[in-house]
Assembly symmetry: C2
């Protein structure tokens, strides 16, 4: 007999969490959301109109957000969105989920940014999970580094070596941040 096929879940849209996180603090238009993302968040997350507006209208259908007001009379229309109860629930569920894609887009950072919605222990735990991942990657990079140092004289290898150094330098910075962040979270 076959294993039950689940297919793809309808929650692969990462932009949803960004939008919900921002709306959890204040009511915003799609344009506002874009501005917020282009601000402090842009160092670890991106988002374009082409993903924001479709996400908003679909989340509206799903009941995760609702229109606060739609000023259509006089002047350019302006749709202000507000997060709903179920939207806040979805956001909290994501925050509490230990899994995070820390490949290039740092989901942990996003969770930290929106961490104010949950207990500090949640942010703390998310940082610790991230820290473990980073330590694993750092080990691997150091292994690469040692191997490359043996053949550094050969053509091209200096270039590979430099990129590995980049990885080590940044992952070490991540670990330093983990320590700082944990300390700040504990002290407050």
């Amino acid at each position: 007999m076959d294993v039950e096929k689940v297919g793809r879940m309808a929650k692969d849209r990462k932009i949803d969490l960004v939008i919900l996180g921002l709306l959890a603090h204040e009511n915003l238009t799609g344009y506002d959301i874009k501005k917020r993302i282009d601000g402090a968040i842009s160092f670890f997350w991106k988002g374009s109109f082409g993903s924001i507006y479709p996400a908003l209208s679909e989340m509206e259908k799903q009941g995760l957000v609702k229109r606060k007001n739609s000023n259509k009379t006089g002047g350019r229309e302006k749709i202000v969105y507000q997060i709903s109860k179920s939207g806040k629930d979805a956001l909290k569920q994501w925050l509490n989920d230990e899994q995070a894609t820390n490949d290039l887009k740092y989901e942990t950072l996003l969770k930290t940014y929106f961490g104010g919605l949950e207990d500090r222990s949640i942010t703390l735990r998310n940082i610790e999970v991230f820290e473990k991942q980073v330590k694993g990657n750092l080990e691997l990079l150091n292994f690469y580094k040692e191997n490359l140092e043996k053949v550094l004289e050969e053509a091209d290898h200096v270039h590979y070596y430099l990129t590995v150094l980049f990885g080590i330098e940044t992952y070490e910075a991540y670990l330093r941040w983990c320590n700082k962040a944990k300390k700040i979270m504990k002290e407050h």
Copy 2:
């Protein structure tokens, strides 16, 4: 009169450069390419089969790569690709182009990785361009940081503060790398 509309260039596929860069060193199958990307490159670049195979067949049409051999008799077919003269030219042109998208995917790192094809001065210059970008971002982040320190007691602001600290920590690491990399490139 209107400014001439150019439309979108047919070279938005970043994966092409990754593939060409890898093929510049050795002939590879699509599967091999995926393995290479998942290796040392994965710390700053990603790629999936869904982008690699279509890119390969389109680049073949464009004459940037060609089939070395296509073993179809006996066993699973295996298509080994080889870079062409025009493919190498395209790669070199990209390496020499100062512009680089260093948002989340680090094009400068990719250029450093494949830098062996051109003079060391090219890699050096690309690093310097990157360094300038990083310095600009770091300034901005420090501005954010100072502003946040004034309101750190308010709700949520510790969480925003932590993400800014992350940015600063990593960008400082990038600058450290720039110095190391420049030194290594100059010394050799």
